[in-house]
Subunit: 212 residues, 2 copies
């Protein structure tokens, strides 16, 4: 493990405040105190609390992105299996963020700017990853699309926005049907084998059958 630099100490402090639900009221001085450094030291690295928040988000996300890139390189998996793993990271961002606290914070804050940044980050970081997977799918003859990069961006936007509660005030009971519709649209729009994206709603179907 690398020796922690001051920048990381500041991010750790912020993250710890977030997990204690203290981040929204914390001042830059509070963060400095928590990090055990002088307030001036913070301004050497960040110009505002918002910048610290952004950096915490990006740091915890970068681990997921690294994992996703190594997933791409794994030789044993076909494109459709890789897509499944990537989609689950987007649909269940708590997996991607490695910590429910950060996600709670994003939702609690009612801070649409930060929330948007997170959605945009997801789409931006995953687009080149999904593009590579689609290109593998073309070589394997399971996926076909003329514009892999643009299609990736559109698909990720659909996944990310469609399931975002802050944007769509949709009932939980609507989600399985929406995911089913999405699975069919994805399958057809990428000319994928039938049922390739059924995993998107299968989990909900399972929950439903357990309830009854």
């Amino acid at each position: 493990m690398k020796k922690q630099n001051k920048r990381d100490l500041i991010l750790d402090a912020m993250q710890s405040l977030m997990s204690q639900n203290l981040a929204s009221t914390a001042t830059v001085s509070d963060i400095a105190k928590h990090a055990g450094i002088a307030k001036g030291g913070i301004y050497y690295y960040f110009s505002s609390k918002d910048e610290i928040l952004d950096a915490v988000l990006e740091r915890s996300y970068s681990q997921t992105i690294e994992q996703s890139w190594s997933l791409i390189e794994s030789k044993g998996l076909d494109a459709l299996s890789k897509i499944k793993q990537i989609f689950q990271m987007c649909v269940y961002p708590d997996i991607a963020l490695h910590q429910q606290e950060m996600l709670n914070y994003l939702h609690l804050q009612d801070d649409l700017n930060l929330h948007h940044k997170f959605l945009a980050l997801t789409i931006r970081e995953f687009t080149p990853i999904l593009t590579k997977i689609i290109q593998q799918g073309e070589r394997e003859n399971t996926l076909h699309c003329e514009f892999p990069e643009q299609t990736s961006e559109i698909v990720l936007s659909m996944l990310v926005f469609l399931l975002d509660h802050t944007i769509f005030a949709c009932k939980d009971s609507d989600i399985p049907k929406k995911l089913h519709a999405l699975a069919i649209m994805l399958e057809r729009s990428m000319n994928a084998p039938k049922g390739s994206f059924d995993f998107l709603y299968a989990e909900f179907e399972h929950e439903k059958s357990n309830e009854t």
Copy 2:
């Protein structure tokens, strides 16, 4: 024309302030003064300036929605022609809002809450309209999808979010390719005849060929 009631007078005043770029700094008193009524009179109808803004937005939008509903009922048009008109309203909201001022205001404000409300409103209001058109397309055998309502919502979300500059900081030069990718995805996902959605990017292609 109906005799204007007080509520409409308030909305007219707000709209006039918006078109003069005075809305962001205007107080409830300013709005009252502009409407020629007492400040207390405003609070009888609205509890805040935000509520007035929402109502202005909904009122100017409702005209578009009414037009769209009558478009649905027009017997002479097939489903694909209707879809084209509806999509253009979503892609070019200045058509839908009947006034560029309102759109400028939405973008200038940097008010993500209001902006989100507008996007959500677009999707909510157009979903039942597009659903009916898809159902007509099924009868005409040009469109096919298992979940017309959910598909409509997904399609509208794609259109609205993908082209929103406040969400995606994308270069203008990327848009035609993105729209082309989207046109293919829509065509395939609804099993529509080839080229049904080419109008989405055709205009941009035209501009491009004029430039060179």
